[in-house]
Symmetry: C2
Subunit: 192 residues, 2 copies
Amino acid sequence: MPKRERQRQLEVSLEQNPFLTDEELSKQFNVSVQTIRLDRLECGIPELRERLKTVAARTIDAEVKSLQSDEVIGDIIDIELDKRAVSIFDVTDDHVFRRSGITRGHHLFAQANSLAVAVLDDDLALTVTSDLHFLKPVRSGDRVIARAIVDKERSNDKRTFVDVISTVENETVFTGEFQMYQTTDHSRRELR
Amino acid sequence: MPKRERQRQLEVSLEQNPFLTDEELSKQFNVSVQTIRLDRLECGIPELRERLKTVAARTIDAEVKSLQSDEVIGDIIDIELDKRAVSIFDVTDDHVFRRSGITRGHHLFAQANSLAVAVLDDDLALTVTSDLHFLKPVRSGDRVIARAIVDKERSNDKRTFVDVISTVENETVFTGEFQMYQTTDHSRRELR
DNA sequence: ACTGGTATTAGTACCAAGTGCTAATCCGGA
DNA sequence: TCCGGATTAGCACTTGGTACTAATACCAGT
């Protein structure tokens, strides 16, 4: 096998499995450990321990991210409890259908639904029913702005209606009407 | 600081930041490196390099998982294209509200919506509208079974209706009606 | 046939972050 | 005062490397 080809395959191997030591690689390619080291040097591939460090750091990062996004999908940029709220959600390649590049519906729903939960000044609001309209396809790179408004007219002490409108560059891409169930007693809450 | 307390804090520190070496820890607790080593031994905490290995392995695992779950939320266990499909979704602590332990609505939606997409034998089906009912709270540990049925009666060549009913132990916890938009031309597809 | 350049291999010294072990020291209580 | 747990120190050894030097192999050009 020529040198170039070996180095190309080396990069592929390590991308798939960053846990391989130089010795394991040398057996895989039937060359000496030193050759592997020179190859890594030429390709700028760091040693095993460094590779694991960066992979592990990526985990920690991802875990922090998924934790924060567990609370609210998207970043809340403005909120007036029990009245209205606004959140921003930046769509990336992770959120879209591979073939079409169009955002999967559940991400838009998640942003809207978690905003509806957040806008209610309640220990715990649950969604009871919702009516959704996906109006225009959203793509990777789009910045979705969701605006939630609590509909006081239709709400009573146990049921609250929240309307969410999501836009991309001022064009409405999604609307949702959420009927929420609130667990805490409003009369009690006044006393807090 | 007593030994017990130091060991407790050691575990906390390493859980937060597995990248700390024995030397860094010894400075943090103002004891010798050897003491840290003995503490780790007593607590069964592996060395830095081993810790990074497991953290890195967790990443790889998580990345594979998130990739597969990108396609469909939940595992499809039965499917008859353009007719019906069934998927299973096991709820974990990651899917629930911390305070109440009740599953966040968007996970139930994601399972149902991605099943509705999957059941349609189409290159790309998009959700246009949907009407959701969250009937009973779902908790960590519950196994949610979603059944999607394509409603042929109401469907035409450009609009397809899919009804999804999700149950936990035979009790309906969620229902969703999805109106889907299909991009490919059905008449052409017959020829494939 | 000789020379040059590239590729490969071998070997050495050294490093970080350890394990495993022994020995010394400290400190408090019966 | 002596005992025992806690702590510290020191040394040999391990892994998986880096950095460097030297030797060898092979192929092309002249």
